[in-house]
């Protein structure tokens, strides 16, 4: 074929493409290695920076690093002083007085005082979102006694109050008030700085916001004047959270050496594949998250205790852990990593003989075909479907018909608003907000949480309610924990929930140049922080980029 001018033009075009490719290659080859200590991690979404707005893991990781609290949770679950260097509790347990560390600087250089603590408490209680519920229920108010002394008054005795204070993040009052939008909902406080805090922080934590691009990334920089000091010389100078958890993207970034830690939302299959990349390691730890099948106790056939027990005995927990959630472990209503869990309580195990015995005692026995068990799993979490199918297969052995329903989370919220619409069974993960069994027991089984996705059981048991209220108002920890044990026993007897497992949070990280403190503790068999978010206290991380091996793409600030 005669080559026309047009073909020549095309050939020239191809030549240009080749030249462009060469230039691209050269531009990459010119990449100079820098030893900037940085941690890059992925997440579902760029976080909310306002500590009054959210309660989930994604956001808590950043609250912990951008802000300080009066009390800090230690890795073993105990509490240690933070902004509060000491405290006194009145004999009636209603007044808490804290002495603050003097000279603490916010990121803008202002000094942190008792007024800021009062402001932060009033702000979270007024907004009422996020962790606000922990305070609105129990706290009457706070006042600044002196520049460095603040006093909290409780409405009623609330023994885990110190544990709850780890969720009160202190904001710079002057900075927030200088950035309020006057058209907001909160009268003289306008929008309480909510709009400004979307992309800024007003904290005193070890890291400060350098750049925030919603949907894209959050870049935090080490706060050199941090009051707690920087003994750890290898702490990351920068932390970048990339707002995506797309499996293929995360895997690509890791393989290019552009990521230090993956997010925890990757499927097990993807994590195993990422773990094959040289110089990576999988960290697996617990943060008290329990996978439940919430059984609606107000709707047939799950209103029958024997039916619920039969279901609980016919599930192959071991196989679910082995095949679907490897690394996880059996659990009761409170996970074993949460202080106050009952170690003497044996979780349900597969026992078909017992299951058969229970189903025979059920009032629905003989007419099970008329009462199918409707089981919801959350679309997007494909492993939940596998669990539902395993439940279905085993329940069939007892003659129980399980109707599996795939539902998006918004459907869960809608359906669980009333006992009539709440499904017989709903697979839901729940984690404690603070490090005590009381957090789980109150949110999961107290009547006040009925109608939310925290409690699909509709237990509404006055005895359980009063037991929970009594326990969380018991000041003596030993006595309180004994009461938690009793509640857990009582709940296990009523069997309103099938507690499938305590989920292991898994992430792959670069083990050649990153020391991930939680992973180290797990290796040593020591407990790790049971409160979500605190496993990512980047001040304790160690990064030594000079030890990085291939593949590694240095971080450019």
């Amino acid at each position: 074929m005669k080559i026309s001018k047009f073909i020549r033009f095309l050939r020239n075009g191809l030549f240009l493409v080749l030249v462009a490719s060469l230039m691209l290659t050269l531009s990459c080859a010119g990449y100079t290695q820098q030893d900037v200590k940085a941690v890059r991690t992925t997440n579902v979404w760029t976080p909310f920076l306002d500590p009054a707005l959210a309660i989930n893991f994604i956001n808590c990781v950043f609250y912990v690093n951008l802000y300080d609290s009066l009390i800090f949770p230690a890795m073993d679950g105990s509490l240690k002083p933070s902004l509060a260097k000491s405290w006194e509790i009145s004999e009636d347990g209603l007044t808490y007085t804290f002495e603050l560390v003097p000279g603490v600087k916010f990121h803008n250089g202002d000094e942190l005082t008792a007024d800021d603590v009062v402001f932060s408490l009033e702000r979270i209680m007024t907004i009422g979102e996020g962790f606000g519920y922990l305070f609105t229920e129990n706290v009457e108010g706070a006042k600044a006694l002196e520049k460095y002394k603040v006093q909290f008054k409780l409405k009623k005795v609330f023994a885990p109050f110190l544990s709850v204070l780890v969720r009160l993040y202190i904001l710079n009052q002057n900075q927030v008030m200088a950035n309020i939008n006057k058209d907001g909902y909160y009268e003289e406080f306008g929008d309480y700085g909510k709009a400004w805090l979307i992309t800024h922080d007003a904290g005193s934590g070890p890291y400060k916001v350098k750049e925030m691009k919603i949907q894209e990334f959050l870049l935090m920089e080490k706060f050199n004047d941090y009051w707690g000091g920087w003994e750890n010389k290898n702490a990351p100078q920068y932390v970048k959270e990339i707002g995506t958890n797309e499996a293929v993207t995360v895997r690509t970034l890791m393989s290019r050496g552009e990521l230090e830690i993956t997010d925890q939302w990757q499927s097990d299959e993807n994590l195993v594949a990422i773990d094959q990349i040289p110089n990576t390691e999988m960290a697996s730890f617990y943060s008290g998250t329990v996978m439940n099948i919430m059984l609606n106790t107000k709707k047939p056939p799950t209103d029958d205790i024997h039916f619920r027990k039969a279901l609980s005995y016919c599930i192959d927990y071991k196989k679910i852990i082995e095949k679907i959630y490897p690394g996880s472990r059996p659990s009761g209503s409170v996970a074993s990593s949460t202080p106050g869990y009952n170690p003497n309580l044996k979780p349900y195990t597969l026992d078909l003989a017992k299951a058969e015995m229970e189903i025979k005692q059920s009032s629905y026995y003989g007419k099970l075909d008329q009462y199918p068990f409707e089981l919801y799993w959350c679309s997007g979490l494909v492993d939940e479907e596998k669990v539902a199918l395993m439940v279905q297969a085993n329940a069939a052995k007892l003659g129980i018909k399980v109707d599996i329903v795939k539902a998006p989370w918004i459907n869960y919220i809608d359906k669980m608003a009333t006992p009539e619409t709440t499904p017989n069974g709903a697979i839901i993960f729940v984690a404690p907000s603070y490090a005590e069994a009381g957090s789980m027991l109150k949110s999961r089984y107290h009547s006040s949480t009925c109608g939310t996705t925290e409690q699909g059981e509709w237990l509404q048991d006055p005895e359980i309610d009063s037991m929970i209220e009594d326990a969380i108002s018991t000041l003596d920890q030993k006595e309180r924990f004994q009461k938690y044990y009793a509640i857990q026993e009582k709940i296990a007897g009523l069997c309103p929930t099938i507690c499938i497992l305590e989920k292991a949070d898994k992430q792959v990280f670069r083990s050649d140049y990153v020391v991930f403190p939680v992973a180290e503790l797990v290796k040593q068999g020591k407990p790790c922080n049971p409160i979500f978010g605190y496993s990512f206290y980047f001040r304790d991380f160690k990064v030594t980029p000079e030890k990085a091996q291939s593949p590694y793409a240095p971080f450019k600030p």
Binding site: M1, L24, S27, E129, Y133, P408, I413
Partner: protein, 340 residues
């Protein structure tokens, strides 16, 4: 010319009705889908009174017609409401995220126009030769591979095996964003003479825009080819050849122009549709665009986001169609001078 103006006026008038209709449909669909958006935004642990306060703030405690009234009144004054997910006004979010999508769509549109016409013309010119066959085979692949699969393949090839192109976001870390003028990083960086940022932004655009354009590029190349082959046998072309007009002029001046009419019609629709179709590509490349923002809004039932983004995309669709009609009147005078 007067007729053209009347034609445009009528199209604009109908467009207003179309957008108004769309606003009602999307408003109702977004609200009848099960799930309380206030509870969804605040989570299971938020006290009932806080949820109720947010419902009141969003007018969710009112009847559907009342809710529509409040919403449309806001929209007409440029207020689409507040996003529950980002906390900002939807308008503010649109201003931030839309330029990223526009840049992606424009770039992929350019790729489509250039290569669709190039491949279509080449295939027609060398009809039934190896060139035509090669383009045909490529077209089958291009059309049958969805944009997100192409994105994953590109990610694998250029992100994993041949790591010469960036795979994440719009700009590499270490490179400062140019001051916002248009929001299109390539344009803004060029205006400010920041060639480092321009080159980096350009490199970031290559993979997502190619993935987005691949399917429609080959589809339109096939349409161009068919149309040109059909016109090639028309008498006026034979007459032009008889007059000894050079083949190059026949090809580009007399054959390509009328043959582009079906291509341009499809291109217009495709370009408008790619705003919506971009979401998977945006997700895979972590591209902070409006389509990704919209789809996340749908997944979390962020009512104002859903309505705002769909109304915007509906308007783009309508405007693009009007522009296509105008282009067609220039390509084919019969349309311009017909009874319209």
């Amino acid at each position: 010319m007067l007729k053209l103006r009347i034609f445009l006026f009528r199209r604009l008038l109908f467009s207003i009705f179309v957008i108004f209709g769309l606003s009602i449909v999307i408003f109702i669909i977004a609200r009848v889908v099960p799930g309380d958006p206030a509870r969804m935004a605040l989570g299971g642990k938020a006290p009932k009174e806080v949820v109720q306060r947010l419902r009141q703030e969003m007018h969710l405690d009112k009847t559907l017609p009342e809710q529509y009234f409040f919403w449309i009144r806001g929209v007409l004054s440029g207020d689409f409401g507040r996003s529950l997910r980002t906390g900002r006004t939807v308008l503010e979010d649109i201003k931030i995220f839309f330029p990223a999508t526009i840049e992606l769509v424009i770039f992929s549109g350019l790729l489509t126009v250039i290569f669709a016409i190039l491949f279509g013309t080449l295939a027609a010119q060398h009809k039934n030769t190896w060139v035509d066959n090669l383009i045909r085979i490529l077209s089958y692949f291009g059309v049958s591979i969805p944009a997100f699969v192409a994105a994953i393949i590109f990610l694998l090839l250029f992100g994993y095996y041949w790591t010469i192109l960036p795979v994440l976001g719009r700009l590499s870390s270490g490179i400062s964003y140019p001051t916002k003028i248009t929001g299109l990083l390539t344009i803004d960086s060029l205006i400010q003479g920041n060639f480092v940022a321009f080159w980096d932004a350009f490199k970031h655009l290559i993979l997502p825009s190619t993935a987005l354009s691949l399917g429609r590029l080959f589809q339109e190349a096939r349409i161009t080819r068919s149309s040109m082959v059909e016109n090639m046998h028309k008498e006026y072309i034979t007459a032009e050849r008889g007059y000894g007009i050079p083949e190059r002029i026949i090809m580009f001046k007399y054959l390509l122009k009328p043959s582009l009419i079906p291509t341009v019609s499809i291109m217009g629709l495709d370009l408008a549709a790619s705003f919506g179709n971009a979401f998977l590509v945006e997700m895979i490349f972590c591209w902070p665009g409006l389509s990704r923002y919209g789809i996340n809004g749908m997944l979390t039932k962020d009512l104002n986001v859903i309505s705002g983004v769909i109304i915007l995309y509906g308007t783009i669709f309508v405007i693009t169609n009007i522009i296509v009609d105008i282009i067609l009147t220039f390509l084919d005078p019969r349309i311009r001078f017909s009874n319209r």
